[in-house]
């Protein structure tokens, strides 16, 4: 094949600028992992109890809900969107689980199915607003967040559902959280808590889906250039809807773990998970300098936030400082993924 007049890729000359460039690239790429490892080492050396494997597993267990919610957020970020309703959907899951088992006296399996169905339904509602009614993603999911939180309260007359409670009609609630259901979070397999196993499994599944299947590839294509995707024959609306439904399902799984952990239908559950989930997904975009939402990044971001909060708690920092620390981590991550990587391309 003959070709003429084409630009050749310039060969990099080793200059001071190039070296500086390379250092900066390394900082962007591995900076966050370096921070994580350094902090881990610091805590491990200064606090012997931090080295305990039980502490580590507790840390993972603690972050598993935010991490799973973060996976859903990652999927919606891949199509160029955002899901602000994940915390509310998880909370809805807690209520639906409690309602199914305590009020309707059903077994755990039914509760699980009901929770996941509720999550998928919430995702469909988001898809309807965003894809069909063309409301901007952030605003639409903010709206559904309030609607879902409100629906949840109506469902339980504003009260938390606890086993043996007196219901509004004067009768005693017939059911309770089943043993099997409680084992979701509290049970262990080979010493690893169920919630950590679910977190691990979902991470692998989500990674394969997003990074290795054609569906995942299409989600990223839509996020990067929706019009080009449409003109490549992709049903853009259907795939965006899929992302929100999957996000709803993942959030409901987070809700299952939360319900299993609390053991009652706490009406306030899930609300605090939203910001952590979004933070985790945003931290994830900066990991490995990819500058785009990715599953390993999100999982690693969750672990990092877990290490920092657990570490600081062991160091004796009061719990109420936690928000400031997490916020600072998020901002640092945003500096990595926006400010530094922008400068790189400029």
């Amino acid at each position: 094949m003959t070709t003429t007049q084409s630009t050749s890729v310039p060969t990099a000359a080793p200059s001071a600028a190039a070296v500086g460039h390379r250092i900066q690239n390394a900082v962007i790429k591995y900076g966050f992992i370096f921070v994580t490892v350094t902090l881990f080492a610091y805590f491990a050396i200064s606090e012997p109890s931090f080295r305990d494997s039980a502490t580590l597993l507790d840390t993972l267990r603690y972050v598993s809900v935010a991490a799973i919610l973060g996976l859903g957020v990652t999927l919606t970020m891949a199509v160029g969107g955002m899901d602000m309703s994940v915390g509310a959907v998880a909370g809805l899951g807690v209520t639906v689980a409690a309602k199914t088992m305590v009020t309707y006296n059903q077994v755990g399996t039914v509760a699980i199915l009901a929770v996941v169905a509720a999550g998928a339904l919430a995702g469909l509602l988001n898809a309807l607003l965003i894809v069909v009614l063309k409301i901007p993603d952030m605003l639409a999911t903010l709206g559904t967040m309030f609607v879902i939180q409100g629906t949840k309260l109506i469902l339980v007359d504003g009260q938390s559902i606890t086993p043996g409670m007196t219901q509004s009609d004067g009768t005693t609630a017939p059911g309770r959280f089943t043993e099997g259901f409680l084992r979701i979070d509290r049970g262990t397999f080979l010493g690893i808590p169920g919630s950590v196993l679910i977190f691990g499994a979902l991470t692998v599944v989500a990674w394969v889906f997003l990074a290795r299947t054609r569906w995942g590839r299409v989600l990223y294509a839509i996020g990067a250039n929706p019009e080009a995707s449409r003109l490549a024959g992709i049903r853009v609306g259907a795939y965006r809807a899929l992302a929100y439904v999957l996000s709803g399902v993942l959030a409901s799984i987070g809700g299952l773990i939360l319900a299993s952990r609390i053991g009652q239908g706490d009406v306030s559950a899930g609300t605090s998970q939203l910001l952590e989930a979004v933070a985790v997904a945003l931290v994830g975009t900066s990991v490995l300098g990819r500058g785009r939402p990715n599953v390993w990044g999100t999982a690693l971001g969750a672990v990092l936030i877990g290490i920092i909060t657990t570490g600081l708690t062991i160091e004796g920092l009061p719990y109420y400082t936690q928000d400031v620390v997490e916020g600072a981590v998020l901002i640092l991550a945003l500096v990595f993924s926006f400010t530094l990587s922008k400068r790189r391309t400029a």
């Binding site: 003959t2 007049q5 250039n225 049903r235």
Partner: protein, 510 residues
């Protein structure tokens, strides 16, 4: 056309050897032009000829240019949009929305520049503002009552907004007014109001640079026309205009060395796609067209002739509003691109950046996007199959890239275009539509793409090439269709589609 060396004393604005290059590519080469006060100079040129670069230099957006711009004989430093305005060069851009501030009243928008420069009392009362707006409206005879001036600007129709922006520019009493495609969003009646305003400017001694592709308007309004092609001024006429010569300068290659390919005239392939009574542009008569296997059909026409509408309609990107299309004798009504692709109809869109390429992705990933299904087993994309497809395309079209993993942004424009073309060859198309495939593409890439398109036709596909460049089309097509205002004006093969006849057909429809 020989440029004088010194700027003419009387010129409102004079350009001397103005040049500009982006990343080594010359977009303007030594352009010299004097615009006299009270004259309307029309600037013509195909897409990518350098018109917008020239406008941006005059409006102070592009500052790193070569050569000299003088205003009233004095060298001017157009180092910012504000500086350009202060020197008396006002530009009204194509996109009307850019100049309007929604939420403010018509009056506030009219005096917006004075407001924005924020000299004097920031709490300047509404009464004085209205008085100033009233002054502007009566001076320009806009016919707007106080009620209109008090309205929110978003309540104005598109032509009134256009008028408002013009009025605002004129209120500053500019020396030169640059109008960039001012009528592209207006109806004929609305355009009349604009023309009246342009006439008024002329009589008041304001110089006007009028950029448009609507030849009828230019004929009616302009005193002089210049043509820009590949960054050079190639034609300079005063009224009455010789349209044949102007179009030749604008649309055809400089030299007449285009080697016409042997055209198939005798045997004809089967009809793959047939259009019956399809309206290409709203309000224009419906058209019939057949596309046959084994031939390259070239559609030539100016911007707005309906070429892109034809391409997007056939591909289901913007379905036709009427008529009937048949594919292999069966009804074909693509409602979305996916339907067209299933029928074997592929489109290389006009703008590869906004409509085809996925930024940040590799060459191989950009190629595989439409046909991921055939590279996957149970949904998992086979990297080895994908890479093999990427390498095959690189080989077949002569894409210059380090390898199939190179980010697509690293490629030159021509090679990016090859990637987009290659994407649609991965699965054999029945009909391949190429909309302006050679825009921003170097000669080598153009030759490679053209060769591949001809080979595809020889293998039995129907190829449709749409372009505003007559020679590009003659170089590649067996059959030439001339489109003007949504109507087919010529449909000819081989000898019958010679250059002069094509150009005359286009100019006859001015």
């Amino acid at each position: 056309m020989s440029p004088t060396d010194a700027p003419v004393e009387s010129a409102a604005v004079a350009l001397r050897d103005v040049s500009m290059a982006f990343g080594g590519k010359t977009v303007l080469a030594s352009v010299s032009l004097d615009i006299a006060p009270g004259s309307v100079v029309a600037l013509l040129g195909a897409n990518g000829a350098g018109k917008s670069t020239l406008i941006k230099i005059l409006s102070g957006v592009h500052t790193e240019h070569g050569g000299q711009v003088s205003v009233n004989g004095v060298p001017a430093a157009l180092h910012s949009p504000l500086a350009a305005r202060q020197l008396g060069i006002q530009t009204v851009h194509q996109r009307i929305g850019e100049g309007i501030v929604p939420g403010l009243s018509v009056a506030e928008n009219l005096v917006f520049e004075e407001l924005a420069q924020a000299r004097g009392n920031p709490f300047r009362g509404g009464r004085r503002l209205l008085a100033r707006a009233r002054e502007i409206q009566s001076a320009l005879d806009l016919g707007w009552s106080d009620a209109v001036l008090r309205r929110d600007v978003t309540e104005l129709g598109i032509s009134d907004r256009q008028l408002l922006i013009l009025a605002r520019a004129l209120a500053t009493r500019p020396r030169l007014l640059v109008l960039d495609e001012p009528t592209s969003a207006l109806s004929a009646a609305e355009a009349e109001r604009l023309f009246a305003l342009v006439e008024r400017m002329r009589s008041e001694g304001i110089a006007v640079l009028y950029v448009s592709h609507r030849l009828g308007e230019i004929d009616a309004l302009a005193d002089r026309l210049v043509v820009l092609r590949d960054g050079r001024l190639t034609e300079d006429q005063v009224k009455p205009f010789d349209w044949d010569s102007a179009l030749r300068a604008m649309l055809a290659q400089a030299q007449e060395t285009t080697t016409a390919r042997p055209r198939r005239t005798g045997e004809q392939g089967e009809v793959v796609l047939s259009l019956r009574g399809v309206p290409l542009l709203a309000g224009h008569p419906p058209q019939d067209l057949d596309l046959r296997t084994g031939e390259v059909t070239g559609v030539v026409g100016l911007l707005g002739a309906g070429k892109t509408e034809l391409a997007r309609g056939l591909f289901g990107a913007e379905p036709f509003t009427g008529g009937a299309v048949e594919l292999d004798g069966k009804p074909y009504e693509p409602r979305r691109p996916a339907d067209a692709i299933r029928g074997g109809i592929h489109l290389v869109p006009e703008d590869r950046h906004t409509d085809a390429l996925v930024p940040g992705w590799s060459v191989a990933q950009n190629i595989s996007l439409p046909f991921l299904r055939s590279l996957s087993t149970v949904g998992l994309v086979s990297r080895s199959k994908e890479d093999a497809l990427g390498r095959a395309t690189i080989e077949q079209l002569g894409v210059v890239a380090r390898d199939e993993h190179s980010p697509v942004e690293e490629l030159s424009g021509g090679n990016q275009q090859k990637v987009v073309v290659g994407r649609w060859l991965a699965e054999n198309p029945r009909v391949l539509i190429l909309d302006e495939p050679f825009r921003g593409v170097d000669i080598g890439a153009r030759r490679d793409i053209g060769r591949r398109a001809r080979a595809l036709a020889a293998e039995g596909a129907a190829v449709l090439v749409l372009s505003a460049d007559v020679d590009e089309v003659l170089e590649i097509a067996d059959r030439v269709v001339v489109l003007a205002a949504g109507e087919i004006r010529l449909d000819a093969y081989g000898e019958d589609a010679e250059r002069d006849r094509v150009i005359q057909t286009i100019s006859a429809s001015v």
